[in-house]
Structures are given as structure tokens and as C-alpha cells.
């Protein structure tokens, strides 16, 4: 029996609840995944900073009892970088939407991956801009509808995992809101990883993506998520058959930025 149903209220900012997300929005499930991971990590909440972008997902920090830095659209990782460099002892986790991460914030994302700074990025990928009302995201599948692609998107979507890998992130994983057990486990691994870690989470936006693409309610969308993906261990010889693989794609120890910087300072420190 999975270890589930814990009382996670201590991690939550109770007066901010109920949260702002729509009925059945996967973002709430990601938030639960985070809370579960915090419990497993036994993190002191005053040492944890959640850095949010702008979007439905970016609001995550408001619902936790940790430090919250709610930034600007797309720039969460740039703020996080300054903070982490100044306070390497703090645990810094960025919660970002797919638009946030890969549209306006694409550059900060690939640079954070490249620098290998010890920050964890949780990318809530719902294939759409939720907050602003259902516009195309750079993750919207070709042909899918949104209010700005009423006839179906012409653009091939980004694969966030591939982008993170190419940009140099040292921990890269993908999960979904369907995988309630795997998700917190991956977050735990990502936070423990000493370097830049990306966890892409496929999550449902029933309000826009679901409705505009006739995928049904949140319950149906979870099934859709399951059918769209394959845990890596289950990938057969026939390959992915168009499904997106899940799990950890890279876990590599490489020089971490703040550690290297500290060493540089130590070398430079003025002798008395």
C-alpha cells in the first residue's frame, strides 16, 4: 500500500486555501507532490525558497509555508540564480509554467541548465497558457487548438526534456500528475541532486486545454496523460510508438556553480 494520505497541512499556508486553481487542475496535484516531497526531505521550511514565475503554476509558492518569491513572467530562474549565489545554503525550487519556462523564459531556462547551479526547476507542462485564458504554448502539440490557434497549431512543440539535456542540466526527469507515486519521488531526487535539476510534469488544464481539445474532464484527462506517456522501464523494443517517455533521463555529477564559485573566492581571499 503506498504511503499516502498523510497530513500535509504543516507545509501549507492554510489561510491561502482553497487555492486559486480550477476544479480538477493538475497544478494542485503537483503541489501535493511537492508537499509530499518536502515531508520526505524533512526540509526546514525557513530554509526553503519557492520561486514562482507568472502563470497559474507560478502561484504555487503562495500555498506553502515556506519562503515565496513570486517573480515576473519567465524570469523565475534568473531571480533564483541571484538568490542561490548569495545564499548557497538555502534550498531553492522554482515552480514554472510551460509558457513561463519555454516561451518567454526559454533563455533563462537553458542558461540555468548550462550553469549547473543547485536549483530545482519544476516545470508544470499543461500544453497551454492557463492564466491568460488558453493561448498556444510552445508545448502545444501540432494541430491542437487554443484561443490563438483556433484552427490548430502549426508549430512543432518543444520537448522540455530534450532542451534541458542539450542545454546541460545534470538531472532531468519527466513525470505526470497521473503518476502520484513517482512524482514526489522524482522531486525528492531532484532536490537532493547537487546541481541544476529539471522535473517536467505533464499536468492537465481541464478549463482550457481540455475543453478546447474535447478531452473531457479532469478524470478523462488523467487517462489521456497515462496513454500519452510510457515509463522508461516499460519501453519495449518497438520503441515509444509516439509516446513520451517518463522517468530520469540524466543524473550526472558535475561541478556545481556555487561550489565552484566558493572555491574561486577562497583562492582569491585576501591573506591577512
Amino acid at each position: 500500500m503506498p504511503r499516502v494520505g498523510q497530513d500535509l497541512r504543516q507545509y501549507l499556508q492554510l489561510d491561502a486555501m482553497p487555492h486559486v486553481w480550477c476544479p480538477g487542475c493538475g497544478h494542485g496535484q503537483v503541489a501535493r507532490g511537492l508537499a509530499t516531497a518536502f515531508e520526505r526531505l524533512s526540509l526546514p521550511l525557513e530554509r526553503l525558497v519557492l520561486v514562482g514565475g507568472i502563470g497559474c503554476s507560478g502561484r504555487t509558492p503562495f500555498y506553502f509555508n515556506a519562503n515565496a518569491l513570486h517573480t515576473t513572467h519567465g524570469r523565475a530562474l534568473a531571480f533564483a540564480t541571484g538568490l542561490k549565489l548569495t545564499r548557497p545554503e538555502l534550498t531553492v525550487i522554482a515552480t514554472m509554467g510551460d509558457g513561463d519556462t519555454a516561451a518567454i523564459g526559454g533563455n533563462h531556462f537553458i542558461h540555468a541548465c548550462r550553469r549547473n547551479i543547485d536549483i530545482t526547476a519544476i516545470v508544470y507542462n499543461n500544453g497551454i497558457y492557463g492564466m491568460t485564458g488558453g493561448q498556444q504554448a510552445p508545448t502545444t502539440p501540432r494541430g491542437a487548438r487554443s484561443v490563438t490557434t483556433p484552427l490548430g497549431s502549426l508549430e512543432p512543440p518543444f520537448d522540455i526534456v530534450q532542451l534541458a539535456l542539450a542545454a546541460g542540466a545534470t538531472f532531468v526527469a519527466r513525470s505526470t500528475t497521473f503518476d502520484f507515486d513517482e512524482l514526489p519521488a522524482l522531486i525528492v531526487d531532484a532536490v537532493r541532486h547537487p546541481g541544476f535539476a529539471v522535473v517536467e510534469v505533464l499536468t492537465q488544464c481541464p478549463t482550457y486545454y481540455g475543453r478546447m481539445n474535447e478531452l473531457g474532464d479532469a478524470v478523462a484527462m488523467l487517462d489521456y496523460e497515462r496513454d500519452l506517456t510510457t515509463p522508461q522501464r516499460e519501453i519495449t523494443k518497438e520503441g515509444l510508438a509516439g509516446r513520451r517517455p517518463l522517468g530520469v533521463f540524466r543524473r550526472e555529477i558535475a561541478p556545481e556553480y556555487t561550489a565552484q564559485y566558493a572555491e574561486l573566492c577562497a583562492r582569491q581571499a585576501e591573506r591577512p
Binding site: 500500500m1 503506498p2 499516502v4 494520505g5 498523510q6 497530513d7 500535509l8 497541512r9 504543516q10 501549507l12 486555501m17 482553497p18 487555492h19 486553481w21 480550477c22 476544479p23 480538477g24 487542475c25 493538475g26 497544478h27 494542485g28 496535484q29 503541489a31 501535493r32 508537499a35 502520484f180 507515486d181 481541464p206 474532464d217 479532469a218 478524470v219 488523467l222
Partner: protein
């Protein structure tokens, strides 16, 4: 009791439910293997026959709104941490 949560007991175990946070998305209902969950007329969660609950916790992991807390001996008392 957890403030704001209703407690549905079955022996030493119990299901705590915060109706005020429920948004009526049906995710828990679809997940519950015992079929004891449903929405009421206000489109909020209602617990049916708690005697049939198997405390699998699937409702809690599926719920995006932190509506459920399970109380089982293995998890420790909720009060102790409330």
C-alpha cells in the same frame, strides 16, 4: 479533529475531509475503489458508507485540493501533528 475537517471513523482509522476546499472535480470519486465518494447538491464531496472504506488513500493522492487526510495507526495520529 483537524480544524475545518470532518472526521469519518472506522475503528482506529479515519478519513478527514475538508469539504470547504473541495471544488467538485470528481477525481477522487473516479479513483475510489470502494465507490463511496460522491458529490452533493452543492457540487462538493460527500462521503458515503465509511464502513466500506479501505483506507487506500487514493482519494487523497488524486485530490488537487488537499481535501483528504487519512488517519491510520501507521501514519500516526493526526491530532499529534495538528
Amino acid at each position: 479533529m483537524i480544524p475545518g475537517f470532518a472526521r469519518y471513523a472506522q475503528g482506529a482509522a479515519a478519513l478527514h475531509v475538508n469539504r470547504a476546499w473541495c471544488k467538485g472535480c470528481n477525481l477522487c470519486i473516479a479513483a475510489c475503489p470502494s465507490g463511496i465518494l460522491a458529490l452533493d447538491a452543492d457540487q462538493r464531496i460527500a462521503v458515503g458508507d465509511i464502513g466500506r472504506c479501505i483506507f487506500c488513500g487514493l482519494c487523497s493522492v488524486r485530490c488537487p485540493d488537499f481535501v483528504f487526510v487519512l488517519e491510520r495507526p501507521s501514519l500516526g495520529s493526526v491530532e499529534a501533528r495538528a
